[in-house]
């Protein structure tokens, strides 16, 4: 039997992680497997990836994928700042971050906002289930109005739609998907990995233990029945000749990503223009009013410098600089001492 290798000649096994300790059927495990597939199929070198997370069920998942990558399971809600520091010092790394709705919509919402504002070059996966898992089933700030978790009362508090927030903040890549929609999620994940800038993917990822009952608007059943896809998403990698790709019968829109790959959005009913922030917000608010979940690539903007680019740093990653590059020479200090370098 021959082992299938990817474009950089690595088997998929090289992208696997440790055994998950999450509940059987947890949506987060499906996200992990999508990360493995996307990274492998995109031919990313796992040694050049850094896995980042905060605290919560979702933030445990970096242990379950990309075992050859370094990672940092940081503190609750504050992963974006750690990623910011790491990204400044090694801009050659690809950052794949996983966060939850407690992490991102509550305690860490400030850091999320500012990472978006700076257009930090990273993939930010929000595993969004509407409840706190590790503390056993409290509502999170993304719980939908009228939704009811397994135990307790119906949620009556307005949720925070982090995709709408991201669009408003000028986030350069905003997508929503569902952990049960493997094909769509994989295509979006690959596109996010090809994007230079902040790529936000809000993945509705049902919690089988506390929020998968019939009255919940984030259960597998509900999301499956109420998933409104904006388009069918395909990903065409830059190393694969375009002519080999089947041209869809209907209308479609190709978006070129920073590494030359293409994300192809095939129109389903009405065409969604991902460069139109107002259209993205209309789709989100419309879905919310109809108690639906809209999925797909909501918004995309290729023309914004990243946080590291804004710094105008030298081309060599800062961690690879020599002592001579990091410490000015003695003559310079002598000049400061004698007042000649003011």
């Amino acid at each position: 039997m021959t082992i299938k290798l990817n474009v950089i000649n690595l088997p998929k096994d090289d992208y696997q992680g440790g055994k998950s300790s999450l509940c059987a059927g947890c949506g987060h495990d499906q996200i992990s497997s999508v990360v493995v597939n996307a990274a492998w199929e995109n031919g990313l070198d796992p040694r050049n990836i850094a896995k980042m997370s905060g605290i919560g069920c979702s933030s445990k998942t970096p242990a379950y994928f990309l075992g050859q990558s370094h990672g940092f399971n940081t503190v609750h809600g504050r992963m974006p700042s750690v990623t910011t520091g790491a990204a400044m010092n090694n801009k050659d790394l690809t950052f794949i971050a996983v966060s939850g709705d407690g992490d991102s919509a509550s305690i860490g919402i400030g850091q999320l906002i500012h990472a978006i504002r700076r257009n930090l070059d990273m993939v930010y996966i929000l595993a969004n289930n509407g409840v706190y898992g590790l503390t056993k089933g409290q509502y999170s700030a993304t719980a939908d109005i009228g939704s009811k978790k397994k135990k307790g009362a119906v949620n009556e508090t307005q949720p925070i739609d982090l995709c709408a927030l991201a669009v408003n903040l000028g986030c350069t890549f905003v997508a929503r998907s569902f952990s049960g929609a493997k094909k769509q999620l994989t295509a979006l994940m690959k596109a996010a990995l090809s994007h230079k800038g902040f790529a936000f993917i809000d993945v509705i990822s049902p919690c089988v233990s506390f929020n998968n009952n019939e009255e919940s608007m984030r259960s597998y059943g509900y999301v499956k029945d109420n998933d409104v896809e904006l388009h069918t998403v395909d990903y065409i990698p830059h190393f694969s000749p375009v002519e080999e790709i089947e041209v869809p019968a209907g209308a479609y829109r190709d978006i070129e990503l920073h590494d030359g790959s293409i994300v192809r959005l095939e129109t389903i009913s009405e065409e969604h223009d991902p460069s139109d922030a107002v259209a993205a917000l209309a789709a989100l608010h419309g879905a919310e009013a109809a108690k639906k979940h809209v999925t797909g690539l909501l918004y995309f903007n290729a023309d914004k410098p990243t946080a590291a680019e804004d710094q105008n740093l030298v081309s060599t990653p800062l961690v690879d600089l020599s002592d001579e590059q990091l410490r000015p020479p003695k003559e310079t200090l002598d000049k400061i001492n004698s007042g000649f370098l003011d």
Binding site: N48, H70, F72, V82, S315, P328
Partner: protein, 617 residues
């Protein structure tokens, strides 16, 4: 001119022997009126005349309008603390007028802006009314308020004999060669001087500045700028910061110096600077920097440290190097944001929840602010932990004389970082948290290196970095962490001793108290008491500090806080038999330490414990 109240020449002795280079000037102004320029020009002028001078800015937490005092101490004896009394009072602020006059002791020279139209009824003082606003308005109506301050520079130049060339050079420095500003302000100085000469002539009191030999290698600088320069020479790769008084100027100086020191010919930088959304993010960013293998630093003050606590614990436990400079202001809470204190010491030393301990570097002068600025990174990377630099508002935001910075005498210490497969192979049974060398410090690999990856976490883990909640694994790891920091006691910056032969009373002190200790010592000596001194420059405590306590019958721990924080640390760490020998003298009112006040408190404690008679006998 003598005031109309008519002061008899012999009354307060202002005709007695002239006092040279030994007096204090207090300048009362309102915040935001540009008085800081005038004050710094005065300070720089005297410094350029070779005179030992120090300046203290007592400013409010306010942009404009609230009262500010600037105290200039001139001292041939080398004293840098604010003196015990004011000899020359300059009055520019109506709001504090009455109180400022009241505070003047008999014989004080009072220079005041007569355009304030407020009375100065002190026939026991020598008063000098000057219509500063009117004069300034004549020069530049729009900038009159600011220029008026420069006028008093000219007036005082006449009264105490400041050198014209030195003033001009100070003006040049202050206005950074901007011809228009220099010209306008020079005119204001000349006007002030001419007015004073014409109206007061030789009746100008007894205080004079005389030239001293100028030390060409020395200059005046603020501690925050010295720290900034040190960090740049320390190879810092990321500064993340959130503005907070009194630390902001550390970051602002880094930003100002980086283009000259760390940019290549294309203007590209080797150091990132991020103004973060809050202090939590700032410390997160420098932990991210350390994780990646860079050198990260943030600067803050007490409230910022409080916010950073959770992350600080992560750095300790996950063993990620980074550096935090705490420029202490008076706490707790918002406290007195523009006043000084050594009140954060214990919160740094054992920062965060659970059992922790951090190296704390405590500079006492400008040279050390620079040195610890670069050395902090070496220590952080060597120990793979967060290192604190501990400064305060007095040290950080006031100008001090500096004898010049010494270039780092050793290359960057990047610690135990494995960079190649060969290095990794040479280590038997590598694990991120395995103590291969027995010094408590483990080897680490960096992301992107492709070498033995680790998922860092704040949760329990075993020697290979794998999640673990096992009791013995946790305990062993915590013991190693303690050992790792403990081992640094002998090689962190060691105490500086000045020992007397008698070895009866010793004083342990640290940080900015360095600038007052000489005067305290002289006061104590004048009572016949010879005391040894030990200046602690880092925590955890050096064995030298313990020996100092052992060698002296009584040791006073002198510090600028209420509770005696260093005293508490000593009590905890000294062998039990030495504990009865240490006594606390701790006092803080937000102001820089005045020698007399602290000397009296030392005497009081020595009297209370019955040590004085013995010593004096």
């Amino acid at each position: 001119m003598r005031q109309e109240q008519g002061l008899e020449p012999d009354k307060e002795g202002y005709h007695m022997d002239t006092i040279v280079n030994d007096f204090s000037i207090n300048i009362a102004t309102a915040n935001g009126t540009g008085s800081q320029s005038a004050n710094l020009i005065l300070l720089q002028t005297m410094a350029d005349m070779g005179v030992n001078v120090s300046g203290k800015n007592l400013f409010p937490s306010n942009i404009s309008g609230l009262p500010t005092w600037y105290i200039i101490r001139v001292s041939d004896a080398g004293y840098q603390a604010p003196g015990d009394r004011t000899h020359i009072q300059i009055m520019m602020n109506k709001a504090t007028w009455e109180k400022d006059i009241e505070a003047c002791e008999p014989g004080t020279l009072i220079i005041y802006n007569s355009d304030a139209k407020l009375p100065v009824e002190r026939d026991d003082c020598l008063v000098f009314p000057v219509p500063m606003t009117k004069m300034a308005r004549g020069l530049h109506p729009k900038l009159a308020r600011m220029i008026a301050n420069i006028v008093y520079v000219g007036v005082i130049a006449h009264l105490i004999d400041l050198d014209d060339a030195a003033i001009l050079s100070a003006l040049n420095k202050q206005f950074k060669g901007k011809a228009k500003a220099i010209d306008l302000n020079t005119q204001a100085v000349v006007l002030g001087r001419e007015y004073a000469a014409e109206n007061f002539g030789d009746e100008r009191g007894k205080y004079r500045i005389e030239h001293r030999e100028v030390d060409e290698d020395s200059f005046m600088i603020e501690g925050n700028e010295a720290v900034a320069l040190g960090s740049i020479f320390g190879g810092m790769t990321t500064l993340a910061w959130y503005p907070i008084t009194p630390s902001s100027s550390v970051a602002e100086n880094v930003i100002a110096w980086l283009p000259k020191l760390r940019h290549n010919e294309d203007g590209e930088s080797t150091c990132a600077v991020i103004q973060s959304e809050d202090e939590l993010a700032a410390v997160g960013m420098i932990i991210g920097t350390g994780f990646a293998g860079g050198r990260g630093m943030t600067c803050t003050s007490g409230p910022g440290i409080s916010l950073m606590y959770e992350f600080i614990g992560l750095s300790y436990f996950a063993e990620i190097p980074c550096v935090i400079w705490d420029v202490n202001r008076a706490g707790p809470s918002t406290g007195l944001p523009t006043r000084t204190q050594q009140g954060d010491l214990t919160m740094l030393y054992e920062a965060s929840h659970g059992d922790t301990q951090f190296p704390v570097l405590i500079p006492g002068n400008m040279e050390e602010c620079f040195e610890f600025g670069w050395r902090a990174f070496d220590i952080a990377e060597r120990l793979q932990t967060l290192v604190f630099g501990f400064s305060d508002l007095d040290l950080g935001m006031n100008k001090w004389r500096c004898k010049g910075f010494e270039y780092p005498d050793e290359p960057l210490d990047r610690g135990k970082v494995i960079r190649t497969q060969e290095q990794l192979d040479a280590i038997e049974n590598y694990g991120r948290y395995r103590d291969v060398d027995g010094d408590g410090i483990c080897y680490r690999t960096l992301p992107g290196s492709g070498l033995d990856p680790i998922l860092y976490r704040g949760t329990g883990r075993d020697e290979d970095g794998v999640y673990s909640e096992k009791a013995d694994v946790y305990e062993k790891n915590m013991s190693r962490l303690k050992r790792k920091i403990d081992n640094s006691r002998t090689w962190l910056p060691q105490p500086i001793l000045r020992e007397e032969v008698e070895q009866e009373v010793g004083i342990i002190y640290y940080g900015s108290m360095e600038n007052t200790i000489q005067e305290i010592d002289d006061i104590l000596e004048s009572t016949g008491m010879m005391v040894s001194q030990c200046r602690i420059r880092s925590l955890p405590l050096s064995p030298i500090a313990e020996k100092f306590v052992r060698d002296h019958e009584t040791t006073i721990i002198l510090e600028i806080n209420r509770d005696g924080q260093m005293y508490g640390i000593l009590r905890k760490e000294l062998p039990i038999e030495l504990v009865p020998r240490v006594h606390s003298v701790a006092y803080s009112d937000g102001l820089p330490p005045r020698a007399k006040l602290y000397a009296e408190k030392i005497m009081e404690v020595l009297r209370d414990i019955g040590a004085t008679e013995e010593v004096l006998a």
